[in-house]
Structures are given as structure tokens and as C-alpha cells.
């Protein structure tokens, strides 16, 4: 798996990969889905900046255009990258939960 080169788009990349994990979507559908499951309103410039990088990294791929809209789907490499990110976040969340529990006495 390649090193993450998403820079300022890393959060958007994670959201896009999460969105595409349950099926191919075009840009607007991704924005709506991300807003629904995370409450984050991605703007088009950020969305396409992240899509450009994810495509270059080979983590997503474009499907044939449908009525001016091009759907994207996650690749096997993308699934691996998403798994790694989710595992890292789960580890961070777990540590955060434990440390919060130790604070409950205060």
C-alpha cells in the first residue's frame, strides 16, 4: 500500500473512501452521503481535490459516465487503505475512552 499523500485532503479522503465502501457513487451522491453519515458538508473544490488524489493513488477508480455524472468505486487497494485508517481510528478511540473513564472520578 502506498504512503498516504493526501495532505490537507486526508480527512476528505477518509470520508470519500467510507462513502464508497457501500457502493459506487458520483460526486453529488458522495456529498449527500457524507453529510448524512458524518454531518460534514464537503464543498466541491475539496471533494474533487481529494478525488484527484485518491484516483492517482489507485484507491478509487472512475466508472463510465452516466448523464454527465461519473460514478467512482473503491478499489482493492482503497479497501486496504480504509481498513488501516479505521484500525488506527479505533485504536485512538479506544485509548480516548479508557482515559476518559479514568477521569470520571473528577
Amino acid at each position: 500500500m502506498r504512503k498516504n499523500e493526501s495532505g490537507r485532503f486526508s480527512d476528505a479522503s477518509f470520508l470519500i473512501l467510507s462513502s464508497l465502501a457501500n457502493g459506487a457513487k458520483h460526486g453529488y451522491a458522495m456529498m449527500e452521503d457524507i453529510l448524512a453519515f458524518s454531518g460534514t458538508q464537503l464543498e466541491p473544490g475539496t471533494l474533487y481535490g481529494a478525488i484527484t488524489r485518491l484516483e492517482k493513488q489507485g484507491w478509487i477508480e472512475a466508472l463510465p459516465t452516466e448523464d454527465r455524472r461519473r460514478p467512482y468505486r473503491i478499489t482493492a487497494e482503497g479497501v486496504m487503505a480504509l481498513r488501516k485508517q479505521v484500525a488506527t481510528l479505533e485504536q485512538v478511540a479506544s485509548v480516548g475512552r479508557k482515559r476518559l473513564a479514568s477521569l470520571e472520578g473528577f
Binding site: 458520483h26 460526486g27 453529488y28 456529498m31 464543498e43 466541491p44 473544490g45 475539496t46 471533494l47 474533487y48 481535490g49 478525488i51 484527484t52 492517482k56 459516465t65 448523464d67 454527465r68 455524472r69 461519473r70
Partner: protein, 178 residues
């Protein structure tokens, strides 16, 4: 919004413009959207076109950047030259600088900064200049040679040491050397 997408590099537009336009037709445009697209355009220009257009595209981009730097330096030079007139007439400037020495410090700092940037410009630009001049002579490109000599004559004409339109008092280098 179409005009905003024109700020993106050509290669990017060929690949993403149509779907982006389709998305923008459905999306509510706010000032945040415009700012986001502007930042996206800067990012695409910095990170997208070179990789897609290949070496030839990168060479063109590099050439454009050199020309932009040259133009920016010319503009800086105009501002810097105007600031050099601050000492004119010199006796009044000296009188003011006696009561407010910060004026002299600022003026000297500006002068030194201008000289350093001019030197940096020369170091960076002279190799390019000589390569261009040699190529123009080799290929007998009269229009390029005329442009070079024209610049040299204009520069000499404006410089006070060559009897130009300025006064001797405006050139600190000349004051120090004459």
C-alpha cells in the same frame, strides 16, 4: 461558476470539468463554495497539471513561472526606484532624518533589501539571459536581439549616470562612488 473552473489547469478541466459542472448545478452555491473552488484551483495548478501534462507541460509551466518572476521583479523595481526618490531634496531628508532617525534606518533597509534582491535576480537571471542571447545570435533572431538592446538602451537612458531623466541625487550608489 463556469468562469471559476477556467482557473483550473486545462488537463484537469478535460478530465473533471463536465462532472464538476453537473455537481455544481445541484449544489447550493455559497461564498464558501467560491472560496473552496479558488483554493481547489490553486491546488490543482500546483499538483495536477505537471503530473498529467508530462515533461513538455512542466517545461512550459517553468517558462511561464520565470516570466512571471521577471514581471514581478520589474514591478518591485518600479516601487523600489520610487522609494529612492524619498531623499530628494537631500538636505530636507537629512533634516527630517536628524529628528526621526527611523526614516534613515527604514530607507537604508529598503535600499539594502533592493540591492540584495537585484543581486539575486542577476545571479538567477544572467545564465538565462546569456543562454537566450546566445541562442538568438545562433539562430539569427533579430526580433529577440532588438528587444535585448532596446531594454539596455532604455535602462541606460533612465539611469542618471548616463545623462538620463533622473537626478544624480536620486542614485545612492552614484553618491557613494562620485
Amino acid at each position: 461558476m463556469h468562469w471559476l473552473l477556467r482557473l483550473y489547469p486545462r488537463a484537469w478541466r478535460e478530465r473533471y470539468e463536465e462532472e464538476m459542472l453537473a455537481l455544481l448545478e445541484q449544489h447550493k452555491i455559497t461564498p464558501a463554495t467560491v472560496v473552496d473552488l479558488l483554493i481547489g484551483a490553486i491546488d490543482a495548478n500546483l499538483n495536477y497539471s505537471g503530473m498529467v501534462e508530462g515533461v513538455a507541460g512542466m517545461v512550459n509551466r517553468l517558462r511561464t513561472s520565470v516570466v512571471m518572476v521577471f514581471c514581478a521583479f520589474m514591478l518591485f523595481g518600479v516601487g523600489w526606484s520610487m522609494l529612492q526618490r524619498l531623499t530628494d531634496p537631500l538636505n530636507q531628508f537629512n533634516a527630517v532624518a536628524t529628528y526621526h532617525p527611523e526614516f534613515r534606518v527604514l530607507f537604508d533597509a529598503d535600499f539594502v533589501a533592493g540591492c540584495i534582491s537585484f543581486l539575486a535576480f542577476l545571479i538567477g537571471g544572467l545564465p538565462v539571459f546569456f543562454i537566450s542571447l546566445r541562442r538568438a545570435i545562433k539562430r539569427k533572431q533579430k526580433n529577440v536581439l532588438i528587444a535585448f538592446w532596446g531594454r539596455a538602451i532604455v535602462f541606460a537612458g533612465k539611469h542618471p549616470c548616463y545623462g538620463g531623466i533622473g537626478e544624480l541625487a536620486s542614485c545612492r550608489v552614484c553618491i557613494d562612488t562620485h
